[in-house]
Symmetry: C2
Subunit: 252 residues, 2 copies
């Protein structure tokens, strides 16, 4: 074990990056609301307005809450590991349920209007990402919370869980951009090229979505911003090393 596993103070820059990510995330939600309110007549579960439930719910669930769920281990550094895990899992559940409402809204709207389903690249990516999100949650839950896998299996699965978590998040953002573009082109058509205010606002929303994604993944990618191991995890990890590698806990 080297010194990096001992209890460490929170890295100095981390809170600023987290605050910036939250500012961006809330701005994304607010601008989505503003776009739907100003140019699409607002939100309701009836007529044309029912469609608008879809982008708002997807942005709140699959972008903002999903992004925040990924940051839980960077923000809660000293709480018990289990509490942090439960929070991580719960945030994903909230995100999933809100996104589900958004999906029901659009499928129900299509049905009422007699529109075809699942023909566009946005819908293909969306369906893929939603299924992957669900599977990732189930596998994560069964490995890390209940019933829980062996220490060895968890150690091997953890990097995959993190990689696919970030991938699903980025794919969600990409899908949102495709949906935004679709919504713009269907309504504005060639007026998009005259710099209509709605088009410009939606482009800004697109760049904000990209910025939120970059900041969240940047925070995740900093090796020294990872949550430090707690005392009991260190002991476990040392026992495991000793068992599997024949190392003495103090070597390496």
């Amino acid at each position: 074990m080297d010194g990096s596993a001992s209890p460490m103070p929170t890295p100095r820059a981390l809170p600023y990056y987290v605050a910036f990510s939250q500012l961006l995330g809330l701005t994304v939600v607010a601008v989505t609301g503003a776009w739907l309110g100003l140019y699409r007549g607002g939100i309701a579960w009836e007529n044309v307005l029912q469609f608008n439930v879809h982008p708002l719910c997807m942005v709140i669930g699959m972008i903002f809450l999903q992004g925040d769920a990924l940051l839980v281990y960077r923000v809660f550094r000293k709480e018990a590991k289990r509490t942090t895990k439960v929070l991580h899992g719960l945030l994903h559940v909230f995100a999933f349920v809100i996104a589900l409402v958004g999906l029901v809204a659009v499928f129900d709207y299509h049905k009422k209007k007699g529109y075809a389903d699942l023909y566009s690249l946005h819908s293909w990516c969306g369906l893929l990402v939603f299924v992957l999100y669900f599977v990732q949650w189930l596998v994560g839950f069964s490995f890390f919370l209940f019933p829980g896998a062996s220490f060895s299996l968890r150690s091997r699965y953890r990097p995959q869980h993190i990689f696919f978590g970030a991938t699903i998040f980025l794919l969600s953002v990409g899908t949102a951009l495709l949906g935004l573009k679709e919504a713009l082109l269907f309504k504005l058509g060639s007026k998009y090229s005259t710099f209509e205010p709605e088009g410009v606002l939606a482009n800004v929303l697109g760049l904000l979505l990209v910025s939120f994604a970059v900041v969240v993944v940047y925070i995740l990618a900093q090796a020294d911003w990872k949550r430090p191991l707690q005392a009991e995890e260190q002991a476990l990890s040392m026992d495991f090393k000793t068992l599997t590698e024949g190392d003495s806990p103090s070597s390496q």
Copy 2:
């Protein structure tokens, strides 16, 4: 120093993942060509066909070659560091030049047709990513090749270079998806929802683009697939540790 820095054999699974990434990358280029050939009249530097130079060049440059440039350090594991660096830089130059031809094609086409420039989210993301790509190349070149920064500066900049390299690559893929969607909706309009063959082919192309991006970043993200330090780099790194941390080279 622990044992991980000593010369290691190539990880067993790596060549298969690299081969798969190349298969995907070449398929992306081939499907883009097929799409343009079958449904858009092919490629030429005149009339409507000039536009088609744009997607083909951007996919070859900003997707396939950029992705391959990122993989250079995973593929060339035993060659001199400097040779590998030069190859990495050169692949990015090829990618940049090909993408530049693709940009000239679309701006020139817009000009001839009297279309507006830079109004869409695709164009905003594209411009942003192209400028970032150029800046990243310049900074990378001046830090790592000429004139070259100090060992300490390079060590601190390297993780940023890697993070922003992957970010720019993913943003390129996202921009390509937006462009694909734009090209589809402009031409197909509401026919998109009747599962026209062109729409389905373009959706498949979109999923292939996403798959290529995921596989490339997956290869980059595996910590134990990183290029092992060569003898002279190990010596440098140990000297540096000794100088800055007062560690003896054999400690830690």
